[in-house]
């Protein structure tokens, strides 16, 4: 192995390119940069697993039925707060088809949200399991509760937790987030983000704006609900199939719960129907699924399948916390921001993590004074957990709309106000590019004209930005690439494809290095025995995995080059590759011929990824990783007679480093925009404040955007950046793509109406109220 090497990389974006020197660890391939001419990577390629998915041949956890498998069902608390006085599970044991029962609470224990685990059964059929639950007798003494965030903050509100609260964090959380700076009543203060002196900055302001913005609880609602299937292979060995975005987090939690060696827990996730941050570990955030399935299987002596229904999915598997953000923002008379001050309260139910992200703190960096104070407010509701860019969509909504409201007072175009305070060169480039492509200036004029004549149907144009970091992880992934004597190529890693398309991208990287067709690369993922890997959270998957895969493929290629040199009677350094053939001088050897010469069955190499070694041109929050930039523009149509908002167009301009596969990357951005649109317009968990239960735990009154609700047009534009971060140049896109959507839509509604709707979702009742059309109660 050679020693550390210094290489020159051409980095940057658009016309702004420059050479930088980077120190690479030993054995690391020279990174692909702006000079690299790639044939496969960066070209659109359909998902390699698509035929399996569209034909139904792909097996998800819900499809796994080991021989003699039993169905599990869980009895859940109907009460938001109660002390369990008695519990008798014995009657369930004698119900038809029942093999095992399990009490999950003891007399004297307090349950603190409606939906909490009480008991579980395993039976031959789901109907038998459901019927057996009804035989379980539980005595409750109900206690006062609070499910409304504002009410929970009041002095004297029923206390949710009676002791110190431990934080639960997963790979879905943003690195560096979390922590506590004290707790009082139900309010737990998070460490604040501070720059300069915001209070002084506000005093200096000549024009200022102050308002409260609220956002709703948003549930993950992955199409495949949380599910786990457990089969004991021996007293200390188990096979687990789990719908998870972190195979190794399932293995480790299951091993810990049952005191096993992690290597004796074999986890499979061949296919996964979405996660959005809620699927880490063997359990759900609000239900001990791993323990329940494992313990029932052990008691019954048979495999157990625990597949949650849609109601349970809403109640106990996590959510994006709500928020109530008081924003103060000030500027000089000529439009220079003097201060941003955000005081945010949000409830992750019984959990933590209701902070509002870095949007207010990190984007408009020319503002000298910024203070963001976040608080978790505990309520008697299912725990929140990381959800696609935790904190950010909420934070973006409040800040971006406040900026628009300030811009209106300043009589400055809100896009100009943003441009004059954002120092990120890529995001500035994106704002300018979008301004032209979206028809911003003409659109804003059109909106103003309709507003001025009080038109029935208005148009509005809005823009918002996102901030995220390249959190690609070093030293976490070990990928294996093999070339067999029959010429076939295989790549293996214990990674799960959450749906973003990593299976295809991994095949592309190997195909690029070995000059093979993408279809010729067999990708094996979804199995904990295929080598260490990362969880799909924090937008890290492609950036963490592809460099290790490339390193492994380069390792195999080195061995094949040596083999070719031997066959051609030349030195390895004289061998070159083109179109899948090894050449040296006038001689060449075809791939198939070369592979036949492999001694033994295969040439195999593993690869790893070093720590991130470049972050050009802007670092994220003073760390050592690149700050990912993105902006989105939205055009809305608002019917002022009915209050209905429709999203006509979204233009999403994003940077995800070197785009590996434009087709799957675009699909991921479209998914982010659709999720954001749904959050902006309709999705909302509704809790009954009197009875403390969720009223819409379904997909009928919990309203997810359908075909007629998504923007009529979603245009995706990538502004590729070579950051020098890793050897493939990949960085993340999953989270950034959903951060600014709701904010841009809310800003567009503000443009259409001339007044802001400061509460998400932007439903007709709120639009009509903002227009002053709704009579006070009892009026006519």
């Amino acid at each position: 192995m050679p020693d550390d090497q210094r290489v020159t990389l051409k980095v940057g974006f658009a016309e702004q390119l420059r050479d930088i020197e980077v120190q690479l660890p030993a054995g690391e391939p020279k990174p692909w940069d702006a000079r690299s001419e790639l044939k496969v990577v960066g070209k659109p390629h359909p998902r390699v697993e698509a035929p399996l998915k569209v034909s139904g041949a792909a097996k998800y956890t819900h499809d796994i039925v080991p021989p003699n498998a039993l169905w599990a069902a869980v009895l859940r608390s109907p009460h938001p707060c109660a002390v369990v006085e008695s519990i008798d599970v014995a009657p369930a044991q004698s119900q038809p088809g029942v093999s095992a029962v399990l009490a999950l609470v003891k007399p004297g224990e307090r349950v603190i949200f409606a939906g909490q685990d009480i008991a579980a059964v395993a039976a031959k059929t789901p109907e038998q399991a459901e019927a057996a639950l009804r035989a379980i007798a539980v005595g409750y003494k109900t206690e006062p509760f609070v499910v409304d965030t504002a009410a929970a903050m009041q002095d004297g509100a029923p206390l949710v937790h009676r002791g110190k609260v431990t934080e639960r964090s997963t790979e879905g959380d943003e690195p560096g987030a979390g922590g506590s700076a004290g707790q009082r009543g139900n309010v737990r203060t998070s460490p604040s983000m501070k720059k300069g002196d915001a209070k002084k900055g506000l005093r200096m302001a000549k024009v200022s704006h102050e308002a409260t913005y609220t956002t709703q609880v948003h549930t993950h609602s992955a199409l495949e609900t949380h599910s786990i299937v457990v089969q004991w292979d021996g007293p200390k060995q188990a096979t687990v199939w789990c719908s998870t975005q972190g195979i190794f987090s399932v293995r480790d939690e299951f091993a810990e719960v049952f005191e096993l060696k992690p290597a004796d827990v074999h986890v499979h996730t061949d296919f996964l129907g979405g996660g959005f941050g809620a699927k880490f570990g063997a359990s759900a955030p609000g239900s001990r699924m791993g323990f329940i399935a494992g313990e029932l299987a052990r008691k019954a002596g048979a495999p157990v399948r625990l597949l949650l229904d849609r109601k349970e999915e809403h109640l106990c598997t996590g959510n994006r916390p709500d928020s109530r953000q008081h924003v103060k923002i000030g500027a000089s008379a000529d439009g220079k921001l003097t201060a941003i001050h955000v005081v945010a309260h949000g409830s992750a139910g019984i959990g933590t993590g209701a902070g509002v992200g870095r949007n207010a703190f990190g984007i408009y960096s020319r503002c000298p004074n910024v203070l963001v104070e976040s608080h978790d407010v505990f309520t008697h509701a299912g725990p929140g957990t990381a959800m696609r860019a935790p904190g950010h969509p909420q934070g973006a909504f409040a800040l971006e709309l406040a900026i628009d409201e300030l811009a209106k007072k300043l009589k400055i175009d809100p896009l100009d106000l943003r441009l004059s305070h954002d120092e990120h060169p890529v995001r500035r480039h994106q704002f300018e590019l979008g301004r032209k492509q979206f028809g911003w200036d003409a659109g804003r004029k059109q909106a103003a004209a309709l507003r001025d004549k009080q038109a029935r149907v208005r148009r509005g144009f809005g823009v918002a930005a996102s901030i995220w970091g390249d959190f690609g992880r070093g030293k976490a992934v070990v990928a294996t690439v093999s070339v067999l004597r029959d010429g076939s190529v295989e790549v293996k890693n214990g990674l799960q494809d959450i749906g973003g398309g990593i299976t295809t991208v991994v095949a592309q990287v190997v195909a690029e290095v070995l000059q093979r067709p993408v279809e010729a690369v067999r990708v094996r993922l979804g199995d904990s025995e295929l080598g260490p890997s990362v969880g799909s959270g924090g937008s890290v998957t492609t950036a963490s995995v592809t460099p290790a895969v490339r390193a492994a493929a380069e390792g195999v290629k080195t061995q094949l080059t040596a083999l070719a040199a031997k066959q051609l009677g030349r030195k390895p350094e004289e061998v070159t590759w083109s179109e899948g053939q090894a050449r040296a001088g006038s001689k060449s050897i075809a791939w198939a011929e070369l592979c036949k010469k492999i001694e033994g069955e295969a040439v195999v190499a593993t690869g790893t990824r070093p720590e991130t070694y470049g972050a050009y041109p802007v670092k994220f929050m003073g760390g050592n990783s690149y700050q990912i930039a993105g902006v989105q523009f939205a055009e809305v149509r608002v019917d002022t007679w009915t209050g209905v908002v429709g999203v006509e167009r979204v233009l999403a301009v994003h940077d995800c480093g070197k785009v590996m596969n434009p087709l799957t990357a675009r699909s991921q951005v479209q998914g982010g925009v659709i999720l954001g649109t749904s959050y902006a317009l309709t999705e909302q968990r509704v809790m009954d404040r009197v009875r403390g239960v969720m009223l819409n735990p379904n997909l009928e009154t919990y309203k997810i955007a359908g075909a007629r609700d998504v923007p009529r047009e979603i245009d995706v534009v990538f502004t590729p950046v070579d950051t020098g971060a890793n050897n493939t140049g990949a960085i993340g896109i999953g989270e950034p793509s959903t951060i600014p959507t709701a904010a841009a839509i809310a800003c567009a509604v503000h443009d259409a109406l001339g007044v802001a709707v400061r509460d998400l979702p932007l439903t007709p009742d709120r639009v009509l109220a903002a227009l002053g059309a709704v009579p006070t109660r009892g009026g006519g």
């Binding site: 002022t640 009154t701 955007a705 007709p764 109660r777």
Partner: protein, 333 residues
């Protein structure tokens, strides 16, 4: 869902007998959309479902009829919403029914859901649908009064504040439909008499007795130059229950509106006919100002709860839109 017996009688009489033998424990099944939902949610567990889709030729003919009946039009109870939405025989006179059928639910549901089931479905109120709560329908208090009532009634409410869920009922009310009932006392009655107000009986929404079957709806002979229309406002444009609906029928001759009917849906526990709006419009030439006045009159008696006062301007705006469209008066920009 709990196991049940599925019966497939060949005659209506047999179906009626099966359903009335143990009325608390049996249910008639047509499309099964709402019924199976309620069973899956654990709200009901009937021991027997009596299928209406397997009836013999004679009964099926009536229940699947769709077309002219004398001077009017008949629609059998087993006609699906999809069939109604695609029916070309309706023309402008009965366009409201076609538009309503095409607006409800999803294509998949419309392919199975029937006219009879749509009229007789149970409320969508989230208190009624919550397996862990007991509302006025099965207990003593309407939980919406103290609870989350954004989607509840603003007209005709109390003691229950449900909104009637049937989209077809709104259109059929505007079209002066009658419904034919078979059973112990066969009869044909105006649609309004099929529905029960909560003041009459808060536990139920329709007047059918066990063993009675709604077999068809009948639309009367259209008036001269009759036209009609329907629209709904929803929070979500794909598959959502309306926040409000409006259906309008009128004859428009020599620039004057006569025989005007105005119905609103999802604002009251029954399909809501607005005689107040009709009075404003009847015998007058259509105009933007008149429509605004009619919409105001339609909601004048509204008594909102804490969270649903927005339905007043929303229903007014919607009714104005439908009036403009049906009367052919261009909407303001």
């Amino acid at each position: 869902m709990q196991p049940f017996v599925l019966s497939r009688p060949k005659t209506l009489a047999e179906a009626a007998e099966l359903a009335s033998a143990r009325p608390q424990d049996s249910a008639l099944r047509a499309g099964g959309i709402d019924l199976i939902d309620r069973m899956k949610e654990g709200l009901e567990a009937p021991a027997r479902l009596v299928e209406l889709r397997w009836l013999g030729e004679a009964d099926r003919e009536v229940m699947r009829a769709l077309g002219p009946e004398g001077d009017g039009v008949q629609v059998g109870a087993l006609v699906t919403l999809a069939q109604l939405a695609a029916h070309e025989g309706f023309g402008e006179a009965h366009a409201a029914l076609r538009e309503a059928a095409g607006s409800a639910a999803t294509p998949t549901i419309r392919n199975a859901a029937t006219l009879g089931g749509n009229l007789l479905q149970r409320p969508r109120c989230w208190y009624f649908r919550h397996a862990d709560l007991v509302c006025l329908k099965g207990g003593s208090a309407c939980l919406a009064v103290s609870g989350e009532n954004k989607f509840h009634a603003i007209l005709g409410g109390g003691p229950s504040f449900i909104v009637h869920p049937s989209t077809l009922a709104c259109a059929l009310t505007a079209l002066d439909a009658r419904v034919e009932i078979r059973g112990a006392s066969p009869r044909t009655l105006p649609l309004a008499e099929l529905f029960v107000t909560p003041k009459q009986d808060a536990k139920r929404e329709h007047a059918l007795q066990p063993g009675e079957v709604l077999v068809r709806a009948i639309l009367p002979k259209p008036g001269p130059e009759q036209r009609s229309g329907y629209a709904a406002v929803k929070e979500k444009q794909s598959h959502d229950w309306p926040l409000a609906e409006a259906a309008v029928k009128m004859s428009l001759q020599s620039g004057v509106m006569t025989d005007v009917r105005v119905a609103l849906g999802h604002v009251a526990p029954i399909p809501w006919r607005s005689r107040e709006a009709e009075a404003v419009l009847e015998g007058k030439p259509p105009s933007e100002a008149l429509f605004a006045a009619a919409a105001k009159a339609a909601l004048a008696e509204a008594k909102p709860l804490r969270d649903n006062a927005y339905k007043i301007p929303l229903a007014q705006g919607l009714l104005r839109e439908v009036l403009h469209r049906v009367a052919g008066v261009p909407l303001p920009e």
